[in-house]
Symmetry: C2
Subunit: 461 residues, 2 copies
């Protein structure tokens, strides 16, 4: 990198905002899962939207590619500068402020680098709820969560990040600032351009700020773990609890007996919450009204009478609730301890889940002897983490397994990435799994907003 360019950047972001020391840049150059490592001329850490704009102007002039990066917790390597000869990483971490909170209007305005847990905390302190919740919430930043349209455990009730963004501020590749920091619930004045940036994975510009929706805090919560004989019963139960609990239902998380057994194997001393059955659903509801627990109990009693469920346990205390959630949340860790796996983040229509899981499991385990399917995820969102534990000592390339799984996803008109995004990890798969017309439209959008292809080259498209 020329010293002159370095000096130009330093003038904008200051010494604290320019990182070139390889020991310090290393963490910015690898992805969360450790699958990709890239290189960059420098890591820039601007402290304001105005400074982001000036950095972008310099990069346009000097023909330097820009890879925006939030908390770097993404699972698709969307923020890793791989194979780029002239690129910078643009980290938003110094822009971590909460700009304002409007409790009466149920909104919060934040910088893009604000960490999710901070937003949750600020909302909580104001007697409000910011509902987005996921494992990486202590590191993940709002800008990255918007750029990847993050999901998590509360999508069933509150939607993905797209449903939570009211206003957006972004910097275009040439440095122009798009100021859409509006706190409006409804706004049909022209194309809603912020929708383009939500889920664009840093390929259209840099998100620098957002206005987010807040919600009232539910006062009561009810949680149950239910055992089921088959997935058809799981879908039937989902319909029954939707009818019984309606708008209060906030989670309907699925996992298999294999997932539960894996945890017992890797965490000696852990006691089964229920006798073994093929499938489990973790159901949670929250409400401002009384009678929630009784409504859940009554719905499960009815389901038991109809033999839709085999067994159930309700949490009596918040400690019991946390213990039930642990069975869902610790699956990823137990899977890692068990050995390497081929991971898939797919979605299908909710009613297609039983047929999809059955067909895909049979196909994979027949074609790749010794592999074991580990299926879990968000039943209420139609989102299955269809992971496949590789055969011990076997040498099956996970790409072959993925091809089989994604082929079946396509037959069900599903998605090859429900919530993790495309990034650099699934770029070839995207080309194979969306139609030529859709891909052409995506390329037209990219060219229209980023004509030089300077934004996050190699990611998404």
């Amino acid at each position: 990198m020329s010293d002159a360019l370095l000096d130009e950047f330093r003038k904008v972001v200051g010494a604290a905002g320019l990182v070139t020391d390889p020991q310090r840049t290393a963490t910015y150059l690898s992805d969360w899962r450790g699958l990709f490592t890239g290189s960059a001329l420098a890591v820039l850490r601007p402290a304001s939207t105005h400074d982001v704009a000036r950095v972008m102007e310099i990069c346009t002039r000097a023909n330097v590619a820009v890879v925006p990066q939030g908390g770097n917790t993404g699972l698709a390597a969307g923020a890793t500068p791989v194979g780029l000869s002239r690129a910078i990483v643009l980290s938003l971490e110094r822009m971590h402020g909460i700009r304002s909170l409007d409790a009466a209007g149920f909104t919060i305005a934040v910088d893009a680098g604000c960490v999710l847990a901070e937003v949750q905390r600020a909302a909580h302190d104001a007697q409000r709820l910011f509902p987005l919740s996921l494992a990486a919430e202590g590191s993940a930043q709002i800008g990255g969560l918007i750029a990847t349209n993050a999901g998590g455990t509360a999508v069933l009730r509150y939607g993905s990040m797209r449903a939570l963004v009211l206003g957006l501020e972004a910097v275009l590749p040439d440095g122009r600032i798009l100021d859409g920091m509006r706190s409006l619930r409804k706004d049909n004045a022209g194309y809603d351009w912020k929708q383009l940036f939500i889920g664009s994975e840093g390929t259209l510009g840099v998100i620098t700020g957002a206005v987010l929706r807040l919600f009232p805090r539910p006062r009561a919560r009810a949680t149950a773990l239910v055992a089921l004989a088959c997935l058809d019963d799981a879908v039937a139960l989902f319909g029954m609890v939707q009818e019984a609990l309606g708008e209060t239902l906030s989670a309907c998380e699925l996992f298999s007996e294999r997932a539960l057994a894996l945890q017992c194997a890797h965490q000696p001393g852990l006691e089964r919450p229920l006798a073994a059955h093929p499938w489990y659903l973790l159901i949670e509801a929250g409400s401002s009204l009384p009678g929630l627990r009784e409504a859940l109990e009554s719905a499960l009693a009815t389901a038991m009478e109809h033999e839709t469920i085999a067994d159930a346990v309700l949490a009596e205390t918040s400690t019991q609730r946390d213990a039930l959630w642990r069975w869902r949340e610790a699956i990823t860790e137990s899977e890692r301890r068990e050995g390497p796996s081929a991971k898939h983040d797919v979605s299908v229509a909710i009613s297609d889940i039983p047929a999809f899981v059955s067909e895909a499991s049979d196909a994979v385990e027949a074609a790749f002897p010794g592999t074991r399917v580990l299926a879990f995820g968000h039943l209420g969102d139609g989102n299955i983490h269809f992971n496949v534990l590789l055969a011990p000592g076997g040498n099956t390339a996970s790409a072959q397994i993925t091809a089989v799984v994604h082929h079946i996803v396509a037959r069900f008109r599903g998605s090859i990435t429900a919530e993790h995004g495309i990034g650099r990890y699934r770029r070839d798969d995207l080309v194979a799994h969306r139609s030529q017309v859709e891909l052409a439209l995506m390329r037209a959008i990219k060219s229209a907003v980023d004509p030089d292809g300077a934004m996050n080259p190699g990611a998404l498209i």
Copy 2:
């Protein structure tokens, strides 16, 4: 129109699909409010997505502009072919089928020409709810409702049309078909192109089908009309009922004493529901849980103790509920009987409503003596229909009033059209009320998707 071109169209859509008789085309050529009348070479009524594609191919080749039209109930003249020398109206009315309904998966797939009331009915018959609801629901079509991102009376709880669309099918200007008829709750595979078409007002392509979300039907409902001394109290009460009723709150509709008095004046014999107070809020909640009515009653009792509300009446029966709603729903009709008005469909942050209404009312009534502000709308959405009754016999041009109102909207970072859209009615206002950077991005999107500018020229941008 050349006979050859006419013949080409007829070969695709058949005799029943081609309308050229001026007596029959008239209704397609004027807008709902009767403000605009245009002309067209013909009205085409294709019966399938494939036929829409073939019509678009012909139009591209023959350099004919296309104005897509649904139920033609829009309030911004977005579907009226004004000032176009070579244009057709493309009506979706023959594509009115329900393709499939998945009760277990809570989705419905429909043709774009399907009327909203039909979708509501089909959902109801399957023990489900399609929540979008607005005055024109007996005529408005799903395609038009998506193209205008329609709002209505249930946005507070269920969101605008954008929040209800899971999958979309559209035909691009050159006739290529975008097939995104997926029933997925989560899908992060590439740019979410359907978001571009939602709210695009027919300027990017023709929407031909959609997969929509369905919901469980609330089993209990509670409705109250509340009288308030000022708008600050209205916003405070909104926060209180949100905290008390949370996710169950489905409507929080605002209107002024002037709106109520106007109805009494134009409908002799109508009895006031409450003694006169400056403002009224119509509050409705729905839930699957019991205890809803008690929770609303208790919240209102607390608000009364705090002197946040002046008076309140709860509906005891569904007849009483309908009567309360009538006070909100009949405002538009009473306004029409009273005389001409300048209408504004604006939004601001919920907490800015009191200051906005106060400032805008003072400014208008001071600058235009004899005018009377009639403010009502969706408080929970920050959406005010800020209409101004013109002075009897006065000659104030409504454009001047609009300029004053929109100037104040801009100071509050609001929107000049919350739910009605831009169409041909607000096109000049859009240019004045969005930044150059935003407008440039909108134009870049338009050029990328419709390079020849053939789609609905003169609308939106």
